[in-house]
């Protein structure tokens, strides 16, 4: 692993327990995030992308599911750490801005106490210093210090999400995981928050794993993008490389979003069929039942996570990617 790598996930898998036994929701997921980079992780709901975020921070409860594989956060393997060591790394090296900031703050504590809980849990007990740090952070996300004395229910959705971002930056972590941080917000607030994240990221140089179902948004803000489907990574590459995606699913996904500037008749084209049922997934490539390029082998052979030679570190999981005519998509570039 080079010094330049902040996170390296290797052969990660996750099971959830259900009434009819464990089901695999994430399988053979491997990727890296470099220092100061934004990696966008896209996929439909149920593709396992949020589960990846939870597994990377070891938030899968033993009562709910189990995980395996390696999660290297610089030189420490999060998947193997004991509870105590894990707690000390959490938030200092990796923090999260959750999907629903609405529910991610404790409803009965003031924002200030919630900052205090984090700081004190990590051994910082100087009240004056702590308060100064909170004020600094709150102003950094363009809020006034009065917010600290409020309860979560007194804040708007956008304000809560800003508070969540401020909290995530408390210890200057190397990596911030953002799990659909703008999904619950309206478009205008979403735009504000995204530009706020970009600004802070440039200022402090942390890496971001940005999870979203909105591929278009990811292509606009990320350095590299990964596509997930049915618990597997299907393709990963730089934003430039995604101008000509290799996997049929990536192409279909791109075409299902209206291109920027598209007018009138150019409507989104949906992908026919339904996402796979994790309890009863199709054999072979998970996407083959919906794929317009599928052959007989696609239904029986599981494609490997294959490096695309001569293309940096672009990777794809498709048996037929070489055979499929490389039509450039009529996308945003």
């Amino acid at each position: 692993m080079t010094d330049n790598t902040v996170l390296r996930v290797d052969s990660l898998w996750v099971d959830y327990y259900t009434r009819s036994g464990p089901i695999r929701v994430v399988q053979d997921v491997s990727f890296e995030i470099r220092r100061g980079e934004i990696l966008g992780l896209a996929g439909e709901s149920g593709s396992g992308k949020s589960t990846v975020a939870q597994a990377v921070t070891r938030l899968i409860r033993p009562t709910v599911g189990r995980m395996g594989g390696d999660v290297w956060l610089q030189d420490e393997n999060i998947a193997q750490l004991d509870r105590k060591a894990l707690r000390h790394i959490k938030w200092k090296k990796v923090s999260i801005v959750a999907q629903s900031a609405m529910n991610s703050l404790n409803p009965v504590l003031r924002i200030r106490s919630q900052f205090d809980d984090i700081l004190q849990s990590h051994g910082q007990r100087n009240r004056q210093k702590n308060f100064a740090r909170m004020c600094e952070l709150i102003e950094m996300v363009s809020l006034s210090a009065e917010v600290l004395d409020a309860f979560p229910h007194q804040l708007s959705g956008g304000m809560k999400q800003r508070v969540a971002i401020a909290m995530a930056l408390l210890f200057h972590p190397d990596l911030v995981i953002m799990d659909e941080p703008t999904t619950a917000l309206d478009v205008i607030v979403e735009r504000e928050i995204v530009s706020e994240i970009k600004r802070l990221q440039r200022q402090f140089g942390f890496s971001v794993l940005f999870i979203s179902h909105d591929l278009d948004l990811l292509l606009r803000m990320a350095d590299r993008v990964a596509i997930m489907y049915g618990g597997y990574l299907m393709e990963i590459g730089s934003v430039q490389e995604f101008a000509h995606p290799l996997h049929p699913y990536s192409r279909a996904l791109l075409q299902s979003f209206p291109a920027i500037g598209a007018v009138g008749a150019e409507r989104r084209r949906g992908i026919p069929g339904y996402p796979p049922d994790p309890a009863n997934p199709p054999g072979g490539c998970r996407f083959h039942p919906r794929c317009s390029h599928s052959s007989e082998r696609c239904g029986s052979d599981l494609p490997v996570w294959e490096a695309v030679e001569g293309a940096g570190d672009q990777r794809v999981r498709c048996i037929r990617w070489r055979e499929i005519p490389n039509e450039s998509h009529t996308g945003s570039d």
Partner: protein, 329 residues
Amino acid sequence: MRYLMRRIIFYVVAFVATITINFFLPRAMPGNPAEALMSKFGGRLNPLALKSIEIAFGLHEHEPIWNQYLQYLGQLLHGNLGTSLAYYPASVSGLIGTALPWTLFLVGLSTIISFVIGIIIGSISAWRFGGAFDTFMSTFFTFTYAFPYFWIALACLYLIGYLWGVFPISGAYSMDLVPTLSGSFVFNVIRHAILPSLTIIFTSVGYWAVNMRNTTITTLAEDYVTMAEAKGITLRRILLRYAGRNAILPNITGFAMSMGFIVGGAILTEIVFSYPGLGNLLFQAVQQEDYPLIQGILMIISFSVLAANFVADVTYSLLDPRVRVGGNQ
């Protein structure tokens, strides 16, 4: 504050409803019970006591019912609950006044202790969801829940009081003592309270434990608890300030709602231990068909339960800022 105002209005309505039920109950019964009563005691009563019974039980058939109701309310407003028949000429309010403190002490304290213990056991059960402790406790409580209070009281009395002779088995203090605030008297009172109190705690603790367990399990699945874990907050803080603080809220509402249920059962315990509280007084009154006393006790117990409910509501509003402080939502 709007929340508390709404609750206060509710309690006023509930109390008026209770009084009204109390007024109409004997009138709705097949064959007014007071008729029989009058033929039994009538000759012994002075005119004043007679008058108050007539008002309370509706023996003035010729007067319109709303008139009777107003007279009844007037009597209550003056704190006049009538005269006891069994303890004639003692007043009902006087008898209740002597018994009430004992009940507040025994039932009130035991219920609070039971609530606290139940909350602790329920939380531990939830944190160890599906583990040995949880499985044992939820099975055990299925049974404690199902046994009648008075029978647990009998069993306690027999085992600990009769066979082992560890604790006194009846009364609130030894008969040869004169109530004073001396150390020995207080000690004597506590010794007498232990068995009945243990009975109440034993039979009601499962109720709180099971409820707290279930609300904690629900709370542990909330995003803010997961996020607290992600933040590396210490386990102690997560369990107390994130899971516990939130999980206890519905239990306080539950505490208020089941107060009538719990207190009712607890009161029966007094009878077994001849504890000189309201339950025992009610039992005496029922046995001797002392209707004015029965009516008075029902009213005072209802009132106490409503008051306890109100205290629970105030506590709730102190613990939940969404009720206390208004906001955007």
